[in-house]
Structure formats: C-alpha cells, structure tokens
C-alpha cells in the first residue's frame, strides 16, 4: 500500500511528488506512460521556462531536468513505460506496462497529473479534402525537436496558441517558409511575448478574425483558403486568400486529459474541463487531488509547479493528519471572467491567504479585478491590461472571508 500514487510524471507530477516527500510521506509512486519523466517539456526546446520559479530563463528539457534531479534526492519510486488505466473511488490504481504487466496498487491518496492533449482537426471540422500534411502543432513539435525531421517546407498555421507560435519560429529557423498564422478570434490565444519573438521577429503575418475555410490537395496539401470572419465567427464570402503550401499546422487549443478523473467519479467543471477543486487542489472524491494542465490549461510551467506543490503538500497532510475540515464557499465567475481555480475554498483550511487562478473572456484595458460576496466588496486588484491568452492570478487574504456564506464572485471592471 502506497501513501501516495501520482499519475503522470510531467512537471506537475514531479513537483507534487517532491512536495509530498518534503512533507513527510515515504511511500510514494509516480506512474508515467512515456519512456521518461518530464512530460511535454521534453519537446519544448525553446527557452522561457522557470523565470518565476528558478529566476532563470531555462528551456523545457532543462526545467524538467532540475525537477528530475530534485526527485532523485528523494526515495520516490518511479515506474515509467507504465500506463494507468483506471483509478477507483476507493483508491485502487490499475496500471499496465511491459516491466510489471497488469497490476493493481492501493494508495491512501492519489494525485492526478495527466496533463492535456491537443484538439485535432476533427474537433473543428474544416471543409475540403483530407490529404497528408495536416498536423497538430504539438505533433510537429515532436517530429522536429525529438525525432529530427521537418514535416513540411511551406506552412500555414491555424490558431495562435503558444504551440503554434513557437512552431512558426522553429520551422522558420529550420528552413521552412511560414506563410501565415491565422486566428479566428479578434485577439491572439498566445502570450504577447510569443507574438513578438516568434512572428514579428521573422515577419510572419498574423491574420486575426480569419480562419481556414478550405484545404485543397489530393495526396498532399497543395493549398489552403483563408477567409475573414464576422463577429459571429462566420466566414465572409469574397474575402478568400489562397496560400500555396504543403503543410497546415493546427494550434487550436488544448483539452485536459480527464478520462481517468471522470471514471473515478470526480465532480467536473464544464468551464475548465477539469475537476472541481478546493483551495488545496483536492477533488470531490476524498484523497484524490489534481494539479497542472489536467486541472486547467496553464501557459506557464512555473504556475504548474506552484500549484502542484500545494497538491503534494495537501496529499501528505491528508494522509498524515486526516481530511481537511470546514464549510466551503464557492467561487463564481462574474462578468469578464471565464472560470476560476479553485472553485471552492474552505476558509478553515487556509492559513493566511489563498490563490485564485482565472482567465478573462476578452481583452481588457486598464481595469480592476473585483472580488465580492453578494453586494459586499471584499477586495480589488488593479491591472493595466488583461487578455484571455494570459492566465491571471490573485492572492486573497482569508480573513476577508469572515462571515461570508454562499458564493464569492470574481469579476472585471474596466476603468
């Protein structure tokens, strides 16, 4: 019987396991389906990781390496090449791999850290033929950075998420011509710094409020047609542009990988597509915690590490001292906010302050983030600019929740 089993050995799982070890657990197992630890970071060879956490600008593999080294100093057991098939509500973890075969391990607590996967073309349905040469940006990233082959020479990118932007630069550096990055929304889905250093640095045009309306080609992509869209995201006839290209990369969003979570009977949040969590990353199933991209899609791994550390510490506390107590208040998204994590807070279980991550649903200029309980304002935070592509994060002192029952709302007011 393990005190803790961590499902997934990406940055989330690594930070959670290290924190649980530091908090006193001694029987911890990480299960990772890939051949090695590190998760998606292994293919993210660009730099820009760790500025908050390590105060240094690291590449993805270097960031992973730092945590793998920290883990090596603990006694945490690791099983790679092993896939978790099921987690039950009574904390039995079903797994299979060539080394151990099919096994069921029991645990006193479980941390789900499976990360996310890319939305595929099927999920967004582009009309036209189905030739070779259409890849998700993350698949292309793996081909170029890990396997060492270039998926195409003339490229159009649909979607302006960070992976698409990063791949625009990467393919350009490797000698491909990136003709355009096309985004259906009126704003980019990626970090502003990536627009600057991945597109503008290489004069790659970004077409906002545009989408790919047709893919042409018999065996291989030969052309894609791009059209402008109206406010309802419907293509406007007569605005078509044709690009001669052999490759279309899709960077149209990430979806948390939550099949296991749902099967375990954990309450889900349709907004984040992850579990509903308390302030300590605990789910509705006692002893089951979640952290990282499986909980909500992060742009920055530093926040993943911070959140996962909280999950690891909380799992240790659960095992060593029993379940967290106290009534909870619910956090709701008010105008301008699309979701919050956590969704529930138990004031009794918070020492000084709790963190709230959220995303806004459009671009805001100078504005204030207002936290209120019904009509009573609890606190407000000033921001110069807010954008859906950049996750926001506020710290709320718990004493402000004194006497509050029911809901607490987070909303944006432009000033």
């Amino acid at each position: 019987m393990y005190e803790l089993i961590v499902v997934g050995g990406g940055p989330a799982g690594l930070a959670a396991a290290c924190a649980a070890w530091d908090s006193g657990l001694r029987h911890i197992l990480i299960v990772e389906r890939d051949r090695e630890l590190g998760g998606i970071l292994n293919q993210c060879i660009h730099n820009g990781f760790g500025l908050t956490w390590f105060k240094e600008e690291l590449t993805g593999p270097e960031y992973a390496h730092r945590f793998i080294e920290l883990l090596a100093r603990t006694g945490v057991e690791v099983r790679t090449d092993t896939m978790v098939l099921d987690v039950t509500a009574d904390l039995r973890v079903h797994m299979t791999g060539p080394a151990t075969g099919y096994r069921i391990e029991r645990a006193k607590s479980v941390i789900l850290a499976m990360g996310c996967r890319e939305r595929t073309r099927g999920a967004i349905g582009i009309p036209g033929t189905r030739p070779a040469g259409v890849y998700t940006a993350g698949a292309a990233q793996r081909y170029v950075n890990v396997e060492g082959w270039l998926p195409g020479r003339r490229v159009v990118i649909l979607g302006s998420g960070d992976i698409g932007l990063i791949m625009a630069r990467r393919m350009t550096l490797e000698g491909a011509k990136v003709l355009a990055c096309v985004e259906v929304m009126p704003y980019s889905g990626g970090l502003t710094r990536n627009i600057v250093q991945c597109l503008q640095d290489f004069d790659i045009p970004l077409y906002l409020s545009h989408t790919v309306t047709q893919i042409r080609g018999r065996d291989r992509v030969e052309q894609v047609v791009v059209s402008r869209v109206d406010e309802k995201r419907a293509p406007i006839p007569g605005t078509e542009m044709v690009f001669d290209c052999d490759t279309l990369l899709l960077s149209v969003g990430l979806i948390p990988e939550n099949e296991l979570t749902e099967r375990a009977g954990v309450e889900m949040d349709p907004r984040t597509k992850g579990a509903v969590v308390y302030e300590n990353m605990e789910t509705s199933v006692p002893g089951v915690f979640t952290c990282g991209n499986v909980t909500h899609v992060h742009d920055l791994v530093d926040f993943v590490s911070a959140e996962s550390q909280r999950a690891g510490t909380a799992a240790a506390k659960y095992v060593l001292h029993g379940p967290a107590a106290g009534e909870s208040v619910s956090l709701k998204n008010g105008p301008g906010v699309s979701y919050t994590v956590p969704q529930r807070v138990r004031p009794q279980n918070v020492e000084k302050a709790f963190n709230v991550f959220f995303r806004v649903n459009r671009i805001f200029g100078k504005s204030e983030i207002v936290v209120r309980a019904r009509e009573r304002e609890l606190c407000r935070f000033k921001r110069d600019r807010l954008a859906p592509g950049e996750m926001e994060n506020i710290t709320v002192p718990v004493k402000l929740l004194e006497g509050v029952t029911g809901d607490v709302t987070v909303e944006i007011r432009e000033v």
Partner: protein
Amino acid sequence: MRELICIVCPRGCHMRVDGDLNVTGNFCPRGEAYAKAELTHPTRVVTSTVRITGAAYPRCPVKTAAPVPKEKIFDVMDAIGRVTLSAPVRVGQTVIEDVCGTGVAVVAAREMP
C-alpha cells in the same frame, strides 16, 4: 516615440521609448535594459537541436548560453546544423565553444545518456 513589448518575462509589458532612449511602461528594470538593447543592438537566445548518435532519440536540444546578435541567428543555425554529438551528453556540456565569432557558446540542454 516607439512602442515596444518586453519579451524578457511573460508579463509582456507594453513600453514606450522616446528619442533619448527614455523608457516608460516597464514594470521592472530588465524591461528598460531590453528596450535599450532592442533599439541599439537587438539580441536573442537561439534554441535548436543537433544530431546525436547512440542516444534514445536522434536529436539533442541545445541553446546559446547567452543572447546573440539578432542578425546572426541564421548563421548560428547553420553552425548548429553541422554538429553531430555522440551519447552520453550532459546538460550544460559545451557543443560549440564560440559560435560564429559571437563569443557565446552553444551548450546541450538535455541529458542524453
């Protein structure tokens, strides 16, 4: 007056720089340093991969240990493209000592046992 977005950290401050290189809108001093460099001699860290034999994968990620002049990016890529390593490689190991006369080294960014 020029508008500039700081790329030093994910905060992405929107800055303004006047003719005398006075910077406003930066949240921290690194933004000012970046803005001045960007308008006089812009630099970037280059990350890429080199061939490797005898490892689990055929490519090993590398990076320039410091930023290099922006106009040298493609020369640096050429130089990186000519290297083949053989496993094992340690993270931080020097791959090219002084790439394209920039005085900057290219180093491995991953353990490849």
